[in-house]
Amino acid sequence: MAAPKVAVVGAGVIGLSTALCITETCPSCSVTVLSDQFSPNTTSDVAAGMLIPHTYPGTPIHVQKQWFKETFTFLFAISNSPEASEAGIHLVSGWQVFKNTPKEELPFWSDVVLGFRPMSEAELQKFPEHRFGQTFTTLKCDCPPYLLWLEKRLKATGVQMHTRKVADLWDLHSEYNVVVNCAGIGAHQLVGDEKLFPVRGQVLKVHAPWVKNFIRDGDGLTYIYPGIHRVTLGGTREKGSWSLSPDPGTTKDIFDRCCSLEPALRGARDIEVKVGLRPSRRCVRLQREVLSRGGVKFPVVHNYGHGAGGFSVQRGTAKEAARLVGECIATLPGSSLRAKL
């Protein structure tokens, strides 16, 4: 058969990472990214892009750890290369502080990030309201630069990108052999997944370049993540809210909470407010499906529902999705790749 044609729906961190992995595992494939939004208008662009995993209740921990490890290793190598600044990937150190000592003092990812250890008494003095803390060094993927860099890498390998709103995956069955669904929160409408729900996050992006360390409250609600040009202040976790409009009361609340953690933020300028809907699910939907109508079959690989943890598992889940794409291709009629798997 001719080069298999793969469509990736979605151009956030998951769509672009998945497209990249597919070009690596299936160099003969023709890959096209289709999305109604590209950077800087994706959900990923709102996120700080910190590599601090979110725990999915429905996925075994060893799998999540493997995904995180693959992602961390991949990004670590780029952060250490001349491309780092263009890719928007950089190391950042800081503190995760808790008002009450957490049940699990050692998260599953503590040996993947760098230099993880409990905070000393002296370090905790900076946070009078908190009794326990952890300090470590991790990576941050600043968006838009990171997404734009992924797009550039994809274009260099011949991947096409088109702005297109896909209303139904079946619409693509005549143009493509396999479709990969990385539609994020869009999957709610696209495939009618009732298990997928938004968790609304409002953030502020501010100018405060003297803030060099991240600070995160272990409750996940208040965080300060210094990026290349702006510091992301957060946030909210509003389950079930679909509103993309910034709320002024929330803005003030976020700013106050962050200043309380880091008084140096009081001098912050140029506050920009953004809202994103985390595409949340008990577990990432990472599986094959075959759509079938009138005897015609159309293989689909789903890779969505990463919620608050997309950046942290982007590479691991993308590799698995690419592997599933490989399986789909091998089962296509007339596939010469069947023997290779």
């Binding site: 001349p82 230099g115 002296a122 370090e123 803030v211 360390n213 210094p226």
Partner: protein, 347 residues
């Protein structure tokens, strides 16, 4: 009582402020003047990146270690204040790298979270097999010196743009106490063969993705002769030059090449950084800081001089401890002149 401070770098201005804060209410007649041929942004202090970090070894100079600690604690106490941003003060974490294991420094318990580097962290720095991680402070003089100047101006301290040629020049004019914070050129006021320039050169770049300081060490070539990268609030400073005895304040093309190549090897991402400025300066190097009193005579006049110079490449690191020590010496002068009651116990 007239007090003249010679020098308007970090040492001169902080000593002036420390003394004024402690004694102006005790000595209503206190009049303070600052004399300097260079003011911010043209002082030696302005060229420093501003990282609080002493040298690796204190040469058993426990006094200096204590002054370093006093400075760190003083600055740490100001971190949460509204003044911090204006002072140019903020926390920063980073790496010290070595090609072999070394003993822990005297300041390991002064900084926050001091620890050895893990093998995975060392992978970031090929060629280095040992290192430390800690959180310290940055105090950028481009902000701190103007902040000190503002505080002093508010207190009525007068500033004169003048090169003082001798102590007698000011003491003969009726000044009772001279505080000598003249840095690398103190030898022009009074010969001091122990004071030598430690010439440094730096390149300022735009590299806002760098969030950590990285200081490498080469035991053979000595302190600051090995590349370092220190991110400020706006620019990142690249350096690694220390030339003892070199008085040349001109930028050297050879040194530029050394700094650039070494720092880019250390942090490949720097290759894409835009160069904004180049600067050379003379660290006022001395085997130990000269912080002591001296009575200087000129005909019938005599003046008390408090020397506070020779802080090498750690002036910012040690400045407040020295300012406090100088203030204590000032207090003893006042006592002798019976101008103030015995000093209250104070830190």
């Amino acid at each position: 009582m007239r007090v003249a401070i010679i020098g308007a770098g970090v040492i001169g201005l902080s000593t002036a402020l420390c003394i004024h804060e402690q004694y102006h209410s005790l000595v209503p007649s206190l009049e303070m003047e600052v004399y300097a041929d260079r003011y911010t942004p043209h002082t030696t202090s302005d060229g420093a990146a501003g990282l609080w970090q002493p040298y690796l070894s204190d040469h058993s100079n426990l006094q200096e270690t204590l002054w370093n600690k006093e400075t760190f604690d003083y600055l740490l106490g100001h971190l949460g204040s509204l003044a911090a941003k204006e002072m140019g003060l903020f926390l920063i974490s980073g790496y010290n790298l070595f090609t072999q294991p070394v003993p822990d420094p005297s300041w390991k318990n002064i900084v926050l979270g001091f620890r050895n580097l893990t093998p995975k962290e060392l992978e970031l720095f090929p060629g280095y097999s040992y290192g430390w991680f800690n959180t310290a402070l940055m105090l950028e003089c481009r902000n701190y010196l103007p902040w000190l100047s503002n505080r002093l101006t508010q207190r009525g301290v007068k500033f004169f743009h003048k090169k003082v040629e001798s102590f007698q020049e000011v003491s003969g004019d009726g000044v009772d106490v001279v505080i000598n914070c003249s840095g690398v050129r103190a030898g022009e006021l009074q010969p001091d063969p122990e004071l030598q320039p430690g010439r440094g050169q730096i390149i300022k770049v735009l590299a806002p993705w760098v969030k950590h300081f990285i200081i490498t060490h080469d035991i053979e070539s000595g302190i600051y002769n090995s590349p370092y990268v220190i991110p400020g609030s706006e620019f990142t400073v690249l350096g690694g030059i220390y030339q003892h005895g070199n008085w040349n304040e001109e930028n050297s093309a050879q040194d530029h090449k050394t700094i650039w190549e070494n720092c880019c090897r250390l942090l490949p991402a720097l290759q894409k950084a835009k160069i904004v400025e180049e600067w050379s300066g003379l660290r006022p190097a001395r085997p130990c800081v000269r912080l002591e009193r001296e009575t200087v005579h000129h005909g019938h006049f005599q003046a008390e001089v408090i020397h506070n110079y020779g802080h090498g490449g750690f002036g910012i690191t040690i400045h407040w401890g020295c300012a406090m020590a100088a203030a204590r010496l000032f207090g003893s002068i006042l006592q002798e002149k019976q101008l103030a009651s015995p000093p209250q116990p104070r830190l």
